[in-house]
Structures are given as C-alpha cells and as structure tokens.
C-alpha cells in the first residue's frame, strides 16, 4: 500500500520536475548544452524509477513486518510529531531569545519527557550545556551564535 503511494508520488514529482524544467528560461547565447539537459535526464530517470517502484509494488508479495522480532520498533507518530513541533518552536525562538536561552528551554522540555523524574539533573545538564557551548563557540572559537536577548 505504502509502496504504491510512493510510486505514484515519485511519478507525480518527476512530472512536476519535468514541467518546471520545460518552463525554465534559456539564454540563446553562451553554453550550447544549456541548463535544462541534465534536469531533463534526471526527470526522465525519476519517472522510470517511479514506474519501476509501482511495478514492484504490484508484482511483489507484500512484506509482512515481524512484530515479534527484537529488531521491531513500534511506530510512534505522535511522539515523533511532538519532537518535530518542539524543535520547530526551538528554531523559532533561536534568534529571538538567543541560542543559550532557547537551547536551555528546548533541552529542559525534551529531557522532562525523555528522562522523566530527574528534574535537577535535567535542568542542570540543559543550562550548563547550553551556556557552556555558547561561551566556547562565541568567546573561544569565534563562531557566531545568536545572542538574542543576552547582552553579548
């Protein structure tokens, strides 16, 4: 089921890419090969791979995941979505509050969930890590990290 969707998606992506390549402006003078030739090859090859994925999805017996195997990891889409949302908020605050503060907040939030119950450890690691990294990068290595509301 997923592979069929993937195949359709790849075919659609390749067609979109080929149309975008076709619409690309071309200069009459200069490079005789032009900027479109390689993308046309890429688009064509992607179309083939999409059709191939579809064929494989229709012809092959679907693989059944062995949920008893010790390698099996149960999907946790909500947890993953939560981490993505939290990281997005962290990046949103990155320049507004500055690296050291936004990173501390991000780490405290992450560790409060993934290292539950150890509040003192979590807060200490988060704050010490964020401020030490900020100090080392900006003061010792001369690498700019967003100061945000911090004076320097």
């Amino acid at each position: 089921m997923w592979d069929r969707l993937l195949g359709c998606g790849v075919v659609a992506l390749s067609l979109g890419y080929l149309f975008a390549t076709h619409d690309m402006p071309v200069k009459e003078i200069g490079d005789p090969i032009g900027p479109r030739m390689f993308p046309y090859l890429i688009g064509g090859a992607m179309l083939i791979s999409g059709i191939w994925i579809l064929l494989e999805a229709f012809l092959k017996k679907p693989e059944v995941e062995d949920t008893e195997s010790h390698n099996y990891v149960k999907p946790r889409p909500f947890a993953v979505a939560g981490v993505i949302a939290w990281a997005t908020l962290y990046f949103f605050l990155f320049e507004r509050l500055g690296f050291a503060i936004s990173c501390s907040i991000f780490l405290i939030g992450m560790m409060s969930f993934f290292n539950r119950g150890k509040h003192i450890t979590n807060i200490s690691i988060s704050v010490i890590f964020s401020f030490t990294v900020y100090f080392v990068f900006t003061q010792l290595l001369d690498v700019k990290l967003a100061p945000g509301i911090m004076p320097y």
Partner: protein, 506 residues
Amino acid sequence: MDFAETLEHVFNGFEVAMQWKNVLFLFIGAILGTLIGIMPGIGTSSGIALLLPMTFGMDPIPSLIMLAGIYYGGMYGNTASAVLINTPGTASASMTTVDGYPMAKKGRGGAALAASAIASFIAGTIGILGLTFLAIPFAEFALRFGPAEYFMLMFFAMSAVSSLTGRSVPKGLFAAIFGLMLASIGMDLQTGIPRYVYDIPELQTGISFLIVIVGAFAVAEILLNVEKWFMGRLEPIKIQGSLYLTREEWKRCWRPIVRGGLIGFFIGVLPGAGGTIATVIAYSTEQKLSKYGHEFGTGAIEGVAAPEAANNASTCGAFVPLLTLGIPGSGTTAVLLGAFILFGLEPGAELFQTNPELVWGLVDSMYLGNVFLIIMNLPLIGVFVRVLYLPPGILISLILSVASIGIYAIHNNTTDLYLLLMFGVLGYVFRKLKIPIPPMILGIVLGKLMENSLRQALIISSGDIKIFFSSSISITLFVLALAAMILPIIASRLRIGRERSMGADD
C-alpha cells in the same frame, strides 16, 4: 611511479601525520569514533555529519584526519554494543552480534572484545597497507580519465550504491536521482539562470549538502531513536573474563582475521558493497572453512574475529576510490567527500599531485590511529562502555541541539535550521519506506560534478553523445553500471525460484 617513490611519499606523510596538531585531532577523532561506534543509534555517517559543520573554517588536514578517525574508530567501537547489549553500534557490526552476544552471555565478553580489537588492529593495518600501495596505481590510472569517463564513473558509482545499499533497486535509484534533483536547485553557474528557485532568495545558492547530510542522517536517526526510547533501555552485560586472548583462542583467530581483512579490503574498494556486505561474506567464509563451523551462532570466537576484521579493512578499502577517483562507495565516504568539497578540495588523481602532504598525511595518520584505537579498545574499553549507561533521553536531546549548532554556525540563518528539520523528517520517512539514504547523499554530493562532466564532454564532442562510448574505460564503466543495476534483480529472481522449488520439494 616506482616503489621507492611510494615509500618517499609514505615517509613524508608521516612527517605531516606526526605534527602535534594532527596527532591531537587524530586522538580526538579516535575517541569520538569509539564513542559514536559504541552508542547504538548513532552511525558513523551521522557522527561525521554532526561534526562536519564544526570543522568549518579549520585547517583541512587536521579536520580530515579527525573525520577519518571517527570513521574507522567507529568500526572499533561498534563491537562493544554488539557484544554487550546485542545491538550493533553501526550496521556493519550486525554479524558480530551473532556470536559476540552469546559469548558475553557465557561470561566470555572479555575474549569477544579482545578478539574484535585485535582483529580490527591487524585487519586495519592490512587495509592501510593495501590503501598505501594501491593508491598510486589507481591515481595514475585515473589520470587517463576525461569528462566522459568521469561522467560514466559517477554513473557507475551511483548505480552500484543505489542497487546495493537497499533491498529494492528502484527505491535506491529513486534516492540517488532525488539527490541529483536537490543538487540541481539554485543558480546554474555556467549560464547564470536560476533553476527551481521560485522567488525564494535562500535557494539562489542551492541547498547545502551539509544540511541534507546532517538532516537525513543525524536528525532522522534521532527521530527513530525517539521511537526506540519507548522500548526501554537494554541493560549491558558486564565485561567478564580476560581482555587478552589465550594461546588457543589466538590459534583459532589468526587465520580468520587475515582472511577477513583481505575480504574486507577488496569489498571496501568496490563502490556500494560496503562494510556490512564484507562482514557477511567474511562470516560465511569462516563458517564454511572452520572446523568449529558447528559452533557458529552459539559463541564461536572466529565468528567475532572474521567480521570485525572485514569491517575494519573495508573502511580502508573505501578510501581507495574516494582518494584516487573522488568517488565514494558508501554513505559515510559520501559524507567524507562532502568534507573534502567543503574545504575546496576535489579528491582524485590530481590531489595526489597538487596536495600530496594532505593525501599521505591522511593515509599515514591511519597507522597511528590504529595504534591509538587498539589501546583505547583493549585496556580502556571498560571506561568507554560507560556510555552505554547514559540515559538515551539525554543523548537524543543533546544530539539534536548539537546538530542545530553546527548548521546555524554555517550561515547564521534560521532558514537553514528549518531546512535541517525538513530533511530530518524526509530522512525519517525514507527510512520508514525502506528507501536507502546513502544514494541520496551521493546524488547531492556528486550532482554538480556529474553535470559539469556531462556538459564538458558534450561541449568537447559538439553535442555528440557517442563521446560517452568512445573509450574502452567509459564503455566498461557503462556495462558495470548496468550490471550493478540488473544483477541484484537476477539474483533475487533466482533466489525466489530456488525457494519455490525447495518449497515444492518439501
């Protein structure tokens, strides 16, 4: 170039490798590699990807020595988690779990770790010797390559990596082409025409492969580890028994180590094959040859020594095409090629002439690195395995913030951070759909070079595509590329047919 000249280069390389700064970075790389290898869930590709942005602005020689140290150091460290918690630190240690973990359960974890470290050291040395003496013939051969041959070489590397790194050839092919597609975004440098930019100024300069690498490897790995976190932490078995081999164990191990080293090195040279395939072949070879074949799977020491030897030697083998042809054969070497390009260096035959101190300094640093690593992985392994006790929740959180620091430091731009997350999600979805990541990385790293070679060749031939079939080298590479794509399909059909006929017999 004769043998004496090779030796001269080797000696000059030692002068570079022994400089205190390079030794320091080598040491850091070896430590980080060991730690990254031990921690399950962070592969060497992710580890190097995470640290790559940090080397921005540093000298190329110590940086590359450190990054290479992480690569082969990871191959030493990955055994500890395979033996002590039955989870390979990296995919190429998967075979080590088969006999390593049963050995640990029987109270012979010390012997398993010793066999692995000694095998890694001996095979690593075999691999570095192979690299030292094969590098020049390969580089001299590569001097015969023109743009058409280079295009075909990259085509071959991509088809080999696409078809061998995943379970489905079309998915691997899609991943490689998707990488090429990403590389095509941005200003076309030869005509100045913006491609697929759509009024987004940040896309004018293209998508940095660094963001794709860190996102698709490291961030995706974190998202996968979030799911693993719910399964709870695996408690490591305590290291028991001596960390040295007995005379009997050594007698059983030395031949598998040498054979594994040779198998690993030659498979490592081949694009796409990589460490995991090398370990499987080394393991099955020993199972057939050993008089203790019946013990395999229950804790045979040869079952640890052979794949570990193959694993380490394959990393040295992978440096041969990377350094001499500029072609990475795996995900990790694609990341390393990215590192070279970041430093404005293009690996290949010319690099041996223009920057021999870098090439030979890097190669010779591996001899020293191997010595550091055997020390770290024998008497000091007890210290390093303490990372297995670190709460994974803390690691997940810290790694994500390290990724953000590295990416933000490149352009001081939060758009890069959102792109990082986007490629992290993409890498996660790819992994869920069983689409291999290394071909995509290869595509984005090689995309521009491949297009340049294509255009140069066509300009030389005034647009005649026969140029791609005008030399024996390019024809051979084209045939190899097709074979790399078709052979796995034929092999899979044959296997299915055999299974069906066996089912009918039953």
